[in-house]
Amino acid sequence: MDKFEKFTGVVVPLDRANVDTDAVIPKQFLKSIKRSGFGPNLFDEWRYLDQGQPDTDNSSRPLNKGFVLNDPRYRDGQILLTRDNFGCGSSREHAPWALADYGFKVIIAPSFADIFFNNCFKNGILPIVLESEYVDNLFRESDGETALELTVDLDAQTLTVAGGEKITFDVDPFRKHCLLEGLDDIGLTLEHSERIRAFEEKRRARAPWIFGE
């Protein structure tokens, strides 16, 4: 995984609560056995007027002009701003894959669904929980003639509006460390192999029915 570096990006305001992972990436795209290439189908049902299919060219499909991703102000946005309980529903990691493939690096919301929140970190996306008040403000500011830009500094845990206001945010220290260093969880866990093996032997002695004969 790439290291998470400080960057400045455009905020894309998606003003809906309870956006579920079926909406983030509809089911027909889950048939893929790859991790990449989901970006063009991110929010497919809201973004296009026709029904998307896997392995087809998306460039000539009719766009839903009213959907925020099709608004020229927010082109190449890297920061998604949204409402409560973002990412609820299915555990599909295709949702963060699609968001990352599209180019999103940060998602800001008052709250997230648990599995999705967790999946983000595994894919280099930083989900930031901000109080509703701040989120409301950002929504207001991102609706101007030009898009709102924010500088995200994970190391300092700050969001800075161009030319002004600085908002600090919380992040779990372990997850922060992994994102900043681009660490592979599995490698980290395997450093505990001895411990895992010892635990397993104890467990086998106490609950042998869990293990094969």
Partner: protein
Amino acid sequence: MSAKTLYDKLWEDHLVHTEEDGTSLIYIDRHLVHEVTSPQAFEGLRLTGRQPWRPDSAIATPDHNVPTLGRAKGIEDPVARIQVAELDRNCEQFGITEFGMSDVRQGIVHVIGPEQGFILPGMTVVCGDSHTSTHGAMGALAFGIGTSEVEHVLATQCLIQKKSRTLRVSVDGKLGSGVTAKDIVLAIIGEIGTAGGTGYVIEFAGEAIRSLTMEGRMTVCNMTIEAGARAGLIAVDDTTIDYLRGRPHAPSGDRWEAAVKVWRGFHSEPDARFDREVRLDAAAIAPQVTWGTSPEMVVPVNDRVPDPDSEQDATRAEGMRRALDYMGLKANTPISEIPVDHVFIGSCTNGRIEDLRAAAAVAKGRQVADHVVQALVVPGSGLVKRQAEQEGLDKVFVDAGFEWREPGCSMCLAMNADQLNPGDRCASTSNRNFEGRQGKGGRTHLVGPAMAAAAAVAGHFIDVRDLQGN
């Protein structure tokens, strides 16, 4: 030391290591695998040259993509076919037991795990699927994970987690007749909301929960995720143990006796404290029907579609308006006046034998209404299907005008050919009524199996208790 909750016990039993900040390494006993969320995980193993830590901890089955008709012909959709073939190849290469598409033990992963006795009390259970919460009904700590974590569990037999908070939902008293586990869980979600359980593990307790069969308990735990909690739990009792006795993967002989002794300890201590408590009165719960595009948008069948104009919170009111628009419904319409043209009975929520019995009891001697275009019954597994056929349920359904299909997820998420068209309105026993869930533009109303069968024969929602002569 303070009295422990069931969750405390399960957590401590699986703790391999804890860092100072509370980040913990948790040992995983069981891993269920299906075709949609696993290919990239196996590919990850191949790329890094890693092997599964303990292949016998996992079983796999294709369920999301499989056709429910003409299965002998194989899968028509080439993309889906590759994904199912990929699962076969991965299981073969990495030594994981798979119940393939033509195996009678194939079915929805959350139906076959318990059915095989593969999931036992006191275990940790994961699957790349949010409805893994189902298995909490066994007194096991079970939760859904993403594909990166599927790879993590395959490679290390562990997960990195932090301990959750605990929420006890007690459903006191007795359920009225004709009211089911599905109504309980929908009522709970209506009460606490789809984010109400976020950050918690929920333990379901109270007389109404204790009185449920294992099938009913699985229905309740299954939809824990719709309440935002990753895991739901129900304490082990005689019902649990009776259910497990004699199942293929359950222990036998002396091992069974030893196991039962341990399992009886999987309950919360009487004076254990929970971070939050919610109580519901079972007698006040009526059959439930969702009217919107989130499972929390739910009302009793004898109620009306709510009015956004009377909602104080602006974001919520906006969400309600959007939902009504998508659902093609007007505020204040009586639920019983909403016509349906599709019915789906199945899924990991309500695709077990007891669910099919409940639906068949309503369908028996009646006919699916003329304007209902399709009424599907999709058993949760090959073994559920076989059992139902031995009891003659298939015949009851077919005589009434339902279609009797092969097992799988089917129209619960419509990845295969079983899909709604735009504007279709479906009474569904599944768990999600999101926009497009059952097909682009399709409108889903979640109900229990008897309520779905009742809607099929009436052609609109109806209080099933009226048909049952209560």
